[in-house]
């Protein structure tokens, strides 16, 4: 073993031991803590609080409230980062087009696997839609729902064939279009109240969900006794679309024939 290797291993061990020692000394506070931090108390208090209508989110789920209301702008940029990563991945596949082989009956796994998958292909989107639409009420949300929905794509490619999705009309460009619609929906929802306020001549903020003291407009939070969570429902829905089709693009690209990609890459 070289001296440099010994030095690196020793450095890692020292780093880990230092981290353990700092944690044991209480550098991160008592772990696990007994009380939550002041900021968490505020978030929990303001998640659904009818006594402070100008500060509350009117959603039952605190985590979604933080993600899409209290620090919604942060989440918008996070979604943009994911979008940029997918665009960069697509750029690596420029000039590569997907195959359309007509007959998929003879490809894929056994008829039993195909039948079971056909049933799952209906159930999985139902579950993911439920997770997305209830994200403001129960744990879940757009990202989780989008990830669940992508299982459909992976299953289709593995069980049927990589030609299955293109034959049924789901191409890379179509997925990119839906992904862009999702991101556009998030952007429009974030400035929707601001646009209406400009027309009405009142005050409003970017990413405003419920009315503030100086900004009277609100997204509907309660319709027929059903809690909508204001803008959270729309954000979850559009994030669901954006994430589901973002992953779809990735798996469609990965399913393209390696020989074909290699030929295009090598030939330039």
């Amino acid at each position: 073993m070289k001296k440099a290797d010994v030095f690196v291993i020793a450095s890692i061990i020292v780093f880990i031991l230092s981290l353990a020692y700092i944690t044991a000394l209480g550098g991160l506070g008592p772990l696990p803590p007994i009380n939550v931090r002041r900021i968490a108390i505020n978030y929990l208090n303001l998640t659904y609080n009818t006594f402070t209508p100008y500060l509350t989110v009117f959603a039952l789920e605190s985590v979604t409230s933080i993600v899409w209301d209290f620090r919604g702008l942060d989440t918008l940029y996070e979604t943009a980062v994911f979008y940029a990563a997918i665009i960069a991945s697509i750029a690596l596949y420029r000039g590569v087009y997907m195959d359309f082989k007509k007959n998929t009956e003879k490809t894929g796994l056994s008829p039993i696997a195909k039948t079971v998958t056909r049933i799952s292909l209906i159930l999985i989107p139902t579950v993911s839609a439920s997770v997305a639409l209830h994200g403001h009420l129960t744990p879940g949300g757009g990202f989780q729902a989008g990830s669940i929905a992508t299982v459909v794509i992976v299953l289709s490619i593995i069980i049927f064939s990589r030609y299955f999705l293109p034959i049924h009309g789901l191409s890379k460009n179509k997925a990119l279009l839906f992904r862009s619609i999702g991101l556009l929906g998030i952007a429009i929802t974030s400035i929707a109240l601001l646009l209406i306020a400009i027309v009405l001549g009142v005050n409003a903020y970017i990413f405003q969900n419920q009315a503030k003291i100086d900004a009277p407009l609100s997204f509907p939070s309660l319709v027929d006794n059903y809690i909508l969570g204001g803008s959270l429902l729309f954000f979850n829905l559009f994030e669901f679309i954006a994430v589901a089709f973002g992953f779809t693009i990735v798996f469609l690209l990965l399913s393209i024939s390696e020989e074909k990609v290699k030929k295009v890459t090598m030939d330039g």
Partner: protein, 133 residues
């Protein structure tokens, strides 16, 4: 008394496992020459950091509940109970962001690794570092 002692041992064990996993993942990132193994180690590192965050948000109380309000007509008592029994919602919110960013980075570097393999026929960083032009 014994329960408290056991609880402390279990928590210490959990933190020890997490910190050890940090060590293993850092070793993988620094030492393994194969890019795919480096990517796997990077995802282990990110996931361990996320688990660590969730532990920071947990509370050593009983009963403990998720940060989801159970009624749409909360009075002051309900809100006080909710705040006193719920976990800290900030770490889970940060973890969601971290997962998405981690995934975006993993996605990009995986595609780059695939492209590197296509072009140069190797994922070994020692071979790739010798390439010129």
């Amino acid at each position: 008394m014994i329960e408290e002692y056991l609880e402390k041992i279990l928590w210490t064990y959990m933190f020890f496992v997490m910190i050890a996993t940090f060590g293993v993942s850092i070793y993988g990132i620094v030492f393994r020459p194969n890019m795919l193994k480096k990517i796997i180690a990077l995802t282990i590192f990110g996931d361990t950091a996320n688990v660590f965050m969730i532990f920071i948000g947990y509370r050593a109380i009983y009963p403990i509940k998720p940060p989801v309000l159970w009624t749409s007509h909360p009075d002051k008592n309900v809100l006080n109970t909710f705040v006193s029994q719920s976990i800290d919602p900030v770490p889970p919110a940060l973890v969601i962001t971290a997962i998405v960013i981690n995934m975006a980075i993993t996605l990009l570097i995986t595609f780059l690794a695939i492209q590197a393999y296509r072009l140069y026929g190797s994922l070994d960083v020692r071979d790739l570092s010798k390439l010129k032009g």
